[in-house]
């Protein structure tokens, strides 16, 4: 894709920044820890991080 700046009513404007759009950007994964919502586990202490890793999902079957 060429990096041109084309001014035309029918075309969108593309520029240099599009080349790298998203590079190095992770997905934000919200988790709940001790009642807080957090977008990253980076700020959490080691114990809560370990617990979060261990979590399993609970199925919705009524009789197990």
């Amino acid at each position: 894709m060429d990096n041109q700046t084309v001014h035309n009513d029918n075309e969108v404007i593309l520029d240099n920044r599009d080349e790298k759009l998203g590079e190095g950007v992770g997905f934000e994964r919200i988790r709940r820890i001790t009642g807080y919502l957090v977008g990253t586990m980076d700020k959490w202490n080691d114990a809560k991080r370990a617990e979060e890793r261990d979590r399993v999902k609970h199925s919705l079957a009524e009789n197990e």
């Binding site: 950007v25 997905f27 994964r29 980076d42 202490n45 809560k48 609970h58 919705l60």
Partner: protein, 766 residues
Amino acid sequence: MEGLIPMIRSVIKRDGRRVLYDQTKIASAILRAMEAVREGNAEDAARVADSVEAKLEAIFPAKSPDIETIQDTVEHQLMQYGFNDTAKAYILYRANRTTTRDANTALMKTINEITQEDAIDSDLKRDNANIDGNTAMGSMLQIGSAGAKAYNEMYLLRPEHAKAFREGDIYIHDFDFYHMTTTCTQIDILTLFHNGFSTGHGYLREPQSIASYAALAAIAIQSNQNDQHGGQSIPNFDYAMAEGVGKSYHKNFLRILTEVIEDEKDEDDLQDAVEKILTDVERTQGELAKLENRPDFDSRLAAALSEGMGVPTDVMAHLMQRVRSRALKRTDKDTYQAMEGFVHNLNTMHSRAGAQTPFSSINYGTDTTPEGRMAMRNVLLALDAGLGHGETCIFPIHIFKVKEGVNYNPGDPNYDLFRLSCKVSAKRLFPNFVFLDSPYNLQYYVPGRPETEVATMGCRTRVMGNVYDPTRQIAYSRGNLSFTSINLPRIALESQHDEAAFYKRLDELLELVAQQLLDRFEIQAQKHVYNFPFLMGQGVWLDSDKLHITDTVREVLKHGTLSIGFIGLAETLTALYGHHHGEMPEMEEKGLEIIRHMRAFCDKKSQEMKMNFTLLATPAEGLSGKFIVQDQKRFGKIPGITDREYYTNSFHIPVWYPISAYDKIRLEAPYHALCNAGHISYVELDGDTARNVEAFEQVVRWMHDCEIGYGSINHPVDRDPVCGYVGVIGDVCPRCGRREGHRVPPSRIEELKKLYPDIVAFRGIE
């Protein structure tokens, strides 16, 4: 001169330095000890000092003695000479100095870790996820905290409490704030607003629009947060915002009414005339113009306006409809913007020395007025929309109060809002749900008196019963004073499968903790109103408005709770009996026995002291990993007990144990009844299930049916910051197709820009 023993010339200090020997220092220390116990005099001191020197010269003919040896020798010589009391005093003083020095060293080490290490490498710096330990303010806060803890342990704790704390039998929460304040409050903002308040600079009158109500609610939370170390919650958010909605509606109604009449008559400046007519009608009808008036209100008003303003009756009737419609829309929009601002505010404001966003919570669900409903619908919609780039709001915690007859069943006035709550929660993880019909909550409930509705601090703290004042068993204006947790697994491990031994030790620790909570209360009780400029000075805490600024706060504080907490019931059961309560039905009863026992102690203590001792299922953020580290050292890594990095929270089934949502709820629910200081149950759903609102609601209904008190449903909520997609993201973003860390596929950019022109990121800004 042969035979002469060389004199001591120098001594070696603890830090390794060599300094000049000075006998008078030894003699002075001895004399001080003698004077303290009134044994001996200066001459005696000199004599003992001489003998010490002689002894040292004999032991160290050619070397310099170190301080410890000198002190050992002093003790020995004092006893030799029969100055036993002096020897004792000297030994004690020496031991104290050692403890102080060790503490200072430990403190310095802690401060070193805070200042030198990156948070990622320092578990200590991540003790509170809400504080960024990498910033200047965050670091300063942590240093202050470390200093306070060192001081408090040295000077404010009884030795047996300090020992239990140090050794990991108990954990005193928020220990840094020990001599400063209390934990949290459920703020009745309605009363606060009615009375007007001040945050220190200038007086804030009762707000007059929904925007002001929302703004002041945020300010109230922030101001109160500055006086306490815990979170802040609003138990009556819907009732309070309803007032704001009503005031905004009235303003809008009058303005729009004026405008349409001005347009109709092609005149200006008719506001005063219209207002006068409106006010007259309102007086006659006995109600203000509001979202829903009695049926004849509009026809009366139309008739009065028709006559007073000279507008034909049929025209006026039609205009009235237009006004109603537009005023409604306008107010709805105002309310949405106010709620949006509120939510944004609480996610971004910093208080507590600029280092931390307040832990804020709002409770709503039961106001059935049109105004309350409008407020609730809009706060849910604002929560759904998220922040500027669609990010999920972290604060405030939203709690929806579920109540049969009000919002739980089809046909209930707020059922639509319950459904909306489920829908929003399935996307945004809030609201959580409090269940007012669970018997231990229902016992307080009086319809028409919202202060009798159990509310919660988002973290789970619950303050409702009141042994101190049984006429005030209300949620408003009260909170927790402090809490201390017991290491249950440790007791189980020490008991070695002996149930009787377990309960014996548990009783010892329950007594110890109760005493420690009372000690801390003593300190808190002697504070004055001026120590809590907002909480007490502005009358937020129950009955503080009756106090003078210099009064102590003892009596009003008693409305609060002193809570005994615990952690790791699952590991405790495994240690005692071999299995936890998720694995084996019999263990459920064993678990309940233990928790009932603890609750019985709290109830008994409450009656004895006429204070509110309550049992807490401790939230355990920092605590989750602390006890287990100490227990691993002591007992090693025992499978199912100490082989992880954390103890299971409170009475929960372990997070790693496979169990259905229903069974987890069913097994945990009975503990909610027992933990009157606060409790919660979580269910983990996968993303797909969570998008299915029916399934989500089913889980909430199970919670209700099992008599859960406070429940929360977890599911993965992912967001791509580049394209703004919110939902479940595996390896590839469903909207823009990029992989984590990778660029958006170039072929897609043009298409995405056309599809999502509003998304700023596609202008390359991120």
